[in-house]
Symmetry: C3
Subunit: 276 residues, 3 copies
């Protein structure tokens, strides 16, 4: 948060490599994200295509796997896009008040959502949520802050059904597998995705044993290599199927290829009562 605030003050002075001025005419552009598909066949291969998979090739198999691993109250997720990364972007929002902010994401279709505790901790001004592709800002209610982990359960006061992320069990992660992070780096860059890999489980004891600092929270961590910075806190780390792996929490100023997220499995451990 300190870093976020520092950034908010400095962002007027962002140094850009090249600031030469060009003409002032407005250039109309049709540049938008098109309707395209990323999907996985029954063998787990990733496909990029401008048409959806043939029913024989994919679809039902993937959905079944998701339901088996993380059953949810709803019968069917609100699917915004067949592109799992696009779906993750649509399930993520920016959280701000006049002092700072971070990122958050939905975990059911009724506006229930997760962010990092340190994003809402001590927020004296109430927070607003800005959803992907929408101008309206929604009110946010804090339901419960975890005592042990950098997690908070919140509700975005929206009446329409919300797209949301399936939770992947932490003990199924594969070291070296690709991950994507969605969020609002420096708060100013909305709907931003970076990629990297799941590096390992960073054990709680290594804060004291290896880093010689007190662990800021309890429990173990997802160590991943995708770049993050202030404003990403509370945003999701997802796998190639768009399933939640972790919640962005800690980074190290010295080196941006090591970052820590709260394991997705901790969400149900912390908020079991509220998620029923």
């Amino acid at each position: 948060m300190g870093r976020v605030k520092e950034w908010l003050m400095k962002r007027r002075f962002l140094e850009i490599f090249c600031m030469l001025l060009a003409g002032v005419c407005f250039l109309s552009t049709g540049a938008t994200a098109g309707k395209t598909y990323i999907w996985h066949d029954k063998d787990g291969n990733v496909h990029f295509s401008d048409r959806p998979p043939h029913p024989d090739q994919a679809g039902s198999d993937i959905q079944e796997r998701q339901f088996k691993e993380a059953p949810r109250p709803e019968a069917k997720p609100i699917t915004i896009s067949d592109n799992p990364i696009e779906h993750a972007i649509q399930s993520t929002f920016r959280l701000t008040n006049r002092k700072g902010g971070g990122s958050g994401f939905f975990i059911n279709d009724k506006g229930l959502a997760i962010t990092a505790k340190h994003v809402v901790q001590g927020a004296t001004y109430s927070m607003k949520a800005e959803l992907a592709g929408q101008k309206k800002k929604y009110s946010v209610k804090i339901i419960k802050k975890s005592r042990k982990n950098d997690l908070a359960l919140i509700r975005v006061m929206i009446k329409k059904p919300t797209p949301y992320l399936e939770i992947r069990k932490t003990d199924t992660l594969i070291r070296g597998e690709p991950v994507w992070v969605v969020g609002n780096p420096l708060l100013a860059f909305k709907e931003t995705v970076t990629s990297g890999i799941f590096s390992r489980i960073f054990p709680e004891k290594d804060f004291k044993k290896e880093l010689k600092v007190k662990a800021p929270y309890k429990g173990d961590w997802i160590q991943f290599s995708a770049s993050v910075i202030g404003g990403n806190s509370g945003g999701p780390v997802v796998d190639k199927d768009g399933r939640l792996i972790g919640v962005v929490s800690l980074g190290f100023k010295a080196y941006n290829a090591i970052n820590l997220a709260v394991p997705a499995s901790y969400i149900e451990k912390n908020f079991a009562t509220q998620l029923k």
Copy 2:
């Protein structure tokens, strides 16, 4: 450019992690990039192999897609390699004069090429192009600078047919899809490739609204996560098929996972007359 110049002065003093001296005997080495293949089958899967795909598996299908999406005057592109990234490297060159420089790349087989306007803007000394794997430096003629975008159309004075990049329409991009950047980071590292993902379309209005700075050029931007630095300006951002997505233009000192490129679709908007 300021950053590039700063770098040119400092590069004698590049701090290397380890500078312990070893023996002085020359070690002959056969280390070179070999003849190998990256290709995509009909389902879009990526294959790395030391032999070309069987005719049943790939080939014609990919070429047809390229021609449909970006028809060009020539009947057949000059294909240097079946590896699309290798082809992109061969289509890219280093631009330098005694004051600085950047990168550029061919868009037809007759030496017509693109770079960033800020690379050639105010260049009081004429620029030379150094092609991949060649010692000769070719003269460069500036044909037209865009009034609105950070783009310049140039011609490299070469008589042999040049390999070049197909242009991919910007409205077909998929958020989260992989990208590669080819160029000359710090000007000193030639034929260098980095990778990342297409993050989103960064809208022109966000310069003022979110970054609180005046937009340096008109129009929207390709926001991508691959690392770039001074010397990459004007170089291509390509997709897995080696097709042009954008032209490297802006980076932010504070964070190297957010960089901006001019959308490839702007090339035809700016230089329609010259490209006929």
Copy 3:
């Protein structure tokens, strides 16, 4: 090494984005890396799965390729995991003495291993090796330091068979292909993986010609884009099949997307007698 030492002194003061304290109750967690599989079918596709490939789909084909390219004295490699990245992690260890350290990895099942020469150069205190997932520290004997390259052949004094990396010939590398780096960044982060791409062969002459500094070692280099930092030195750069591409040696403070490794082919050139 200078950078490593600087880091060892500073690591007590690592600045973490967020250091707000949470509750003090211990949260028991089942979060560990599970038994899962990454494998490649006969066409070279990458599969992530929680079950091993069917015998018809993969297996023997991949092993045959490895043996053809890098025959080793042993009849069969000690395979710790069907996940090539997991296998690379298990084949890598942390090297430390009271002054600093780095990374190293096994090249046969009898404890023979490689590290960077600058990791063991001038080490007045003997080094210990910490293997993945083990608490015991093993003694290390330096067998031979290369005169020309940043390589040292060492032996870890262990009696059990050791997992090890197959060596891939440097002239088979494909520009733009994905790579993984395993090691101990900042020495404090054990068993850490980052990813990037093989960018190109950096020729020895470019130190003088382009960087204007004296080449610290003889021979050419593997230029790759994966992030590394002090503590990674001596660790392996591997391909998608877990085969050794290079040994991490040099980085540039100014830009972390350009790093240099000693080509894997130099290992046999330097230590042919010892490897018989």
